[in-house]
Symmetry: C2
DNA sequence: AATGAAATTTAAACCAT
DNA sequence: ATGGTTTAAATTTCATT
C-alpha cells in the first residue's frame, strides 16, 4: 500500500486539524473549512483506511508505569530487513520500527516497565528474530522533543513528567 | 507534573481503548466496560486535563509530502548534550530528539521535503550547533510501525471495532 | 466524584449529482 | 468525489446522589 502520491489541500488541512485535536468533530471542522461534514468524513475515512492518518490516544508512558525507553539499532542479514521489521512491529514492546540505510538496517524504539523487562526484550525477543545479526542499544536518558504533528505548528507536549523529559514539545 | 499517583483499573482501560482508537465513542466504551458513558467522559477529561492522555492524529510523514526521514546519531562534547538537545529541538525539521547513552549522545529524527532540504539540515544546521562533534545519518527507507500506544498489549474483553486501526502500521 | 436524564449536536448510511 | 437528507447515536449541560 504505497501511498498516495497526491493529497490535496483539503486532505492536508484535515490532517493538520486532527493532529491538533484528534477528536474534533467533523461538522465543526467542516464549518471552518467551508466544506460539508460529509465530505470531511469521507476524506478522513479514506486517509485512515489508506494508513496515512491514524487517530490515537497517546499516554505519557511514565504515567502508566513504563519507565524505560531505548532505541535499538539492529543489523540484519541481507534481504531480511523487511521481515525483521515485521517481527519487531508485532512486539507490543516496540513503538516505532523503521528500516534504514547505514550502520543499522533497522531501528526500533522499545519501551519497558523495568530493567528486567527491557533485558528480556533485548536479549530474548529481539535476539531471537530470524535475520537479526546484532543489536546496539541506546538508552533514552531524556526526551527533549516529541512532535507528533509534522507540518503543523505546535502541539502541547506530552505532559509533564517529573523525571526525564526536559520539555517535550513541538516547535 | 508530579507523579500520577493513582490511575485505577478503569483509567487504564480507558487509556488502553483510546490508544487503539482515539475516536471511539465514550458511550460505546462505557457499554463494554459496564460503566455509564458519563463516567467514561469524566475520567477521560480528567486524564486529558492532567496531561496523562492526549488524543491526536498521527500522519505518516512520507505520505504527506515529506519524502525524507532520517534518524541522526549525534556525538557531543562532554557536558553539552542537553544544550545540543535544546538547539536541535528548536529546529522545525526535527520531530523527535532524545538524549541517550551509548555510541551517540543524542538521537534526532529529521524530516525533510527533499534532498536539498535534508542536506541543509544535516550539513549546516546540525553541524553548526555548538557541542556537536560528529553526526551519523540513518535514512529511513520504510516505516514499519508507528505506534504511540504504549503498554497495552491486550486487556481482556477490550475489543476494538472492526474498523479500528489495531496495530497501526504505515508504509 | 460519580451518575442519570434531558436537550442539542454529531455521526453513519444512503442517495443523488 | 461531493453535498444533502434522514435516522440513530453521541455529546453537553445540568441536576442528583
Amino acid at each position: 500500500m504505497d501511498a498516495t502520491p497526491g493529497l490535496d489541500d483539503l486532505d492536508l488541512k484535515i490532517v493538520a486539524a486532527l493532529q491538533i485535536d484528534g477528536r474534533r468533530s467533523f461538522s465543526n471542522l467542516g464549518e471552518e473549512l467551508g466544506v460539508p461534514a460529509s465530505s470531511i468524513r469521507y476524506r478522513a475515512k479514506r486517509l485512515q483506511d489508506e494508513g496515512i492518518l491514524q487517530v490515537v490516544g497517546i499516554a505519557n508512558p511514565l504515567a502508566i508505569g513504563f519507565d524505560l525507553l531505548a532505541i535499538v539499532g539492529v543489523r540484519t542479514s541481507p534481504g531480511t530487513a523487511r521481515d525483521v521489521c515485521a517481527a519487531l512491529s508485532a512486539m507490543h514492546e516496540s513503538s516505532y520500527v523503521v528500516m534504514t540505510s547505514g550502520r543499522f538496517d533497522v531501528l526500533v524504539e522499545v519501551i519497558a516497565r523495568d530493567i528486567a523487562d527491557m533485558t528480556d526484550v533485548l536479549q530474548n525477543k529481539i535476539g531471537s528474530v530470524p535475520g537479526v545479526l546484532s543489536t546496539e542499544s541506546f538508552f533514552v536518558l531524556e526526551v527533549a522533543k516529541l512532535a507528533y504533528g509534522w507540518g503543523v505548528p505546535a502541539i502541547e507536549g506530552l505532559a509533564a513528567d517529573s523525571s526525564a523529559p526536559g520539555t517535550p514539545t513541538a516547535d
